[in-house]
């Protein structure tokens, strides 16, 4: 069966309970192949929990997750082969240098050494990390850490990229570089889903958007469907139920 025939990622009734607290309360989501999907939500909405369950890092209390038709929890090997992940808070073996980390990633993924060699060097070049040489990742700046994390996620040429807060604490230059690379990746048939709470970025690059709040999907669709001619930020605040200043309070300011 062709991988492109079904959604790149589909979540079915994902639920996560931590003791008494319901972190994610039944999420259904289909991420079409070739889409650039933004998962929006305020802090504590359950974005990280949701994505962790989708990629096999956190066991869901209920529900299923499929990567290109492969059940992440029942058939993890096949699902993970097609999957590249940038977790947040960035989880890496940060006492390796950038090149070492990429080599390590390649060996873990079972790639032949010469393929690791060419791809790692190209990624280091493109991401502007080649100059860092033997500096350990723990000594990298925040932006460099995101970039090496992205390189690790891309190294085995996955069909689906899951990125948790890829633009958090990244300077504009590094941010636009990451955006360009992701764009090129989507144009060549890849699929990206990333979480964020920065509206400008999402509005600029996403084809599809889902808004998550209190562990549930509140709005979902293509960017234009969700926006419905309005500003994305207004829609977001309205959907999430945030308070909008009416002009009556804080009059002493």
């Amino acid at each position: 069966m062709l991988d492109g025939a079904q959604p790149a990622l589909s979540l079915r009734g994902l639920v996560k309970r931590f003791d008494a607290k319901l972190a994610v309360g039944g999420v259904d989501l289909d991420v079409p192949t070739g889409s650039f999907y933004g998962l929006l939500g305020p802090n504590g909405a359950g974005k990280t929990t949701c994505l962790s369950m989708a990629v096999g890092l956190l066991r869901p209390s209920q529900g299923r997750a499929y990567v290109l038709g492969h059940d992440v929890w029942a058939d993890p090997v096949e699902a993970k082969r097609r999957l590249g992940v940038l977790p947040d808070p960035v989880r890496m073996f940060d006492r390796l240098s950038g090149p070492e980390l990429l080599a390590y990633q390649g060996l873990l993924r079972g790639m032949p050494p010469d393929l690791i060699e060419t791809r790692a060097n190209e990624l280091l070049d493109v991401l502007g990390l080649a100059d860092a040489g033997r500096t350990l990742v723990v000594d990298y700046s925040a932006g460099m850490k995101k970039k090496i994390g992205l390189a690790c996620a891309l190294l085995h040429a996955p069909r689906l990229l899951v990125l948790d807060e890829p633009f958090e604490s990244v300077d504009p230059v590094a941010g636009s570089l990451i955006r360009d690379i992701l764009h090129r990746y989507v144009e060549t048939g890849g699929t990206v889903i990333f979480s964020s709470h920065v509206m400008e970025v999402v509005e600029k690059i996403c084809s599809h958007v889902a808004i998550l709040a209190d562990g549930r999907i509140k709005a979902v669709g293509t960017l234009n469907e969700v926006r419905a001619g309005r500003d994305l930020e207004d829609v977001f605040v309205e959907v999430v139920g945030g308070r909008v200043a009416t002009g009556e309070e804080l009059t002493w300011l």
Binding site: V85, R91, M92, L107, R134
Partner: protein, 541 residues
């Protein structure tokens, strides 16, 4: 607007500043006063102890006195050197960085800081101790001895201060980097771990000590800047006054050299260089070769196993938490059998195979929570779908690259020096069985009872409550390893001498089979509960 005319800044300004800051130490809130009082008491105590030591050196026999003066002086100077290296510039009251914005010539700044550094508890304590040198010099060589000793003492005080300052500012850039802080953690771990052995060595040396070797070392020290100033009066007493200016010249020259270096490095200390050298060497040999250490390249095909083993090896040397555990295990593993076998009075007590039992299973103590060291980085393995079996075997293999040679050296050394060469082969067998068992047991524990290890700058920090858990799990692992190797141990104890070689192949087979079978069984358990393990070892923020 015209610039304000600048008057030259005098040294007394710095001294007054320092005195005022010392006085403020007395006025502050509770904790600061206590700290100040404690450091004052410690300083006074050291000063009196040093004074008495140097005083005594003038009153006892010539050779003993010479050795005391030489060793006492050298440790005094080294005592000034170590704290800034370990704790990064102890005395920050006159931190060069705080003067960065003031238009001060380098020379003024350097002399001022120097004067400020002498005025302080350590400087005054040292000066007090030096009085003992002066009195001792008088006892040895009369009034001339006093003047030589005073001059030598003053030069040495200056040396102490300049040395500590030069080291602090010379390495300021380095000391700000994580790499050096990690290193300091290791040094502290090493010092802490070697306290026991040191005691053992000192007490056994004192048992049958003779002065001759000590005196030889003392003479050599007497020609280094460390002790030259302290032994100069002895040249007068020995009737060789021409040597006095040479020795004092050695100290003065060193002071001048360090002073120059200090003045040069002061600027970079004021600005604070970020980054540090060595980082940007290009990678030449290719990324995979960079990751795989030379020891692994011929042994393993590049793949998951080699990759994990390589990364683990790097981590045993790069992660300060792992490094300090490893150091304590190795030092402890060396000390226990030595104490059991070689210490006087115990020689016939414990059989050799049992004496090295602790050394053999010590690895279990640090491997029992091997995933805890990874923390949330273990997610990388989970995402790559590493089979549990490969995971556990690669980790055991990496530690073995370090531990097996160590174990081998310790067992052979204890057998040879303890005059038990006949038992060596059998003991190697039991050691192999117990080592293998410890790796197997540690694999099981690390999968089933994992807990997070906080990543802290302080190598000794541990999460509240987990310290006792850590000790317990490690202890259980070591006991279980000895118990599960007991058949081989029994064989070593009961087999007659000419058959005892059988223990070696039996022990090797037992150990290797133990690791292979256990990692296979617990490996599939790891495959099942990988995500749960990740949750257990990730620190909740």
């Amino acid at each position: 607007m015209a610039l304000m005319p600048a008057r030259p800044v005098r040294v007394t300004v710095f001294v007054r500043l320092k005195l005022r800051m010392l006085a403020h130490g007395l006025r502050g809130r509770g904790r600061r006063v206590v700290t100040f009082a404690v450091s004052l008491a410690v300083g006074l105590w050291l000063a009196v102890a040093g004074f008495l030591l140097f005083l005594t050196s003038g009153a006892v026999g010539r050779d003993i006195g010479y050795a005391m003066a030489s060793f006492g002086g050298a440790s005094l100077v080294l005592g000034w050197l170590l704290p800034p290296l370990l704790f990064f510039g102890v005395d920050e009251t006159l931190d060069p960085a705080r003067f960065a914005l003031l238009p001060l010539p380098r020379r003024t700044l350097a002399t001022g800081m120097l004067a400020g550094a002498v005025v302080g508890i350590p400087g005054l304590a040292t000066a007090l101790a030096m009085l003992g040198v002066a009195v001792a010099g008088g006892l040895r060589a009369g009034p001339a001895g006093v003047s030589v000793a005073v001059l030598g003492g003053a030069l040495n005080l200056l040396l102490c201060v300049v040395l500590s300052r030069a080291v602090t500012s010379g390495f300021a850039a380095l000391l700000r980097s994580r790499r050096v802080r990690d290193l300091a953690g290791v040094v502290i771990a090493l010092v802490a771990a070697s306290m026991g052995p040191l005691q053992l060595v000192i007490s056994s040396t004192l048992g049958h000590a003779s002065l001759a070797p000590a005196l030889r070392i003392a003479r050599v020290l007497g020609w280094t800047p460390l002790a030259a100033g302290f032994v100069a009066p002895y040249d007068l007493a020995d009737g060789r006054p021409l040597l006095v200016p040479v020795r004092l010249g050695i100290v003065a020259g060193t002071v001048a050299l360090l002073g120059w270096w200090w003045a040069v490095t002061l600027e970079s200390a004021m600005i604070g260089v970020a980054g540090g050298p060595g980082g940007s060497r290009p990678v030449r040999d290719g990324v995979v070769r960079t990751l795989l250490p030379a020891v692994l390249r011929p042994a393993a095909r590049p793949g998951q196993f080699a990759g994990i083993a390589a990364r683990e090896l790097r981590y045993w040397s790069r992660d300060p938490r792992r490094r300090s555990s490893l150091i304590s295990i190795i030092v402890g593993g060396a000390v226990v059998p030595v104490a059991l076998r070689l210490a006087p009075g115990h020689s016939a007590g414990v059989p050799l195979p049992l004496a090295v039992a602790f050394t053999s299973v010590a690895g279990a103590a640090i491997l029992a929570n091997q995933f805890g060291f990874d923390g949330s980085a273990y997610a990388v393995h989970l995402l790559a779908g590493v089979p549990g079996r490969t995971e556990l075997r690669a980790r055991a293999a990496a530690l073995s690259v370090i531990m097996v040679p160590v174990l081998l050296v310790i067992v052979v050394a204890v057998a040879v020096f303890g005059e038990e060469r006949g038992q060596l082969i059998a003991t190697l067998g039991t050691a192999a069985a117990m080592y293998g068992a410890s790796m197997a047991v540690a694999s099981v524990l690390s999968v089933l009872v994992a807990y997070p290890v906080p990543d802290s700058r302080n190598a000794f920090a541990s999460a509240g409550g987990s310290a006792s858990a850590k000790g317990l799990v490690a202890f259980i692992g070591m006991v279980a390893a000895v118990v599960s190797a007991s058949p081989v141990l029994m064989a070593a104890l009961v087999l007659p001498g000419r058959l005892s070689w059988l223990v070696l192949p039996a022990g090797l087979a037992w150990g290797i089979a133990g690791v292979l079978v256990t990692t296979r069984v617990i490996g599939s358990e790891l495959d099942r509960r990988g995500p749960d393990l990740l949750g257990e070892i990730s620190l909740r923020s």
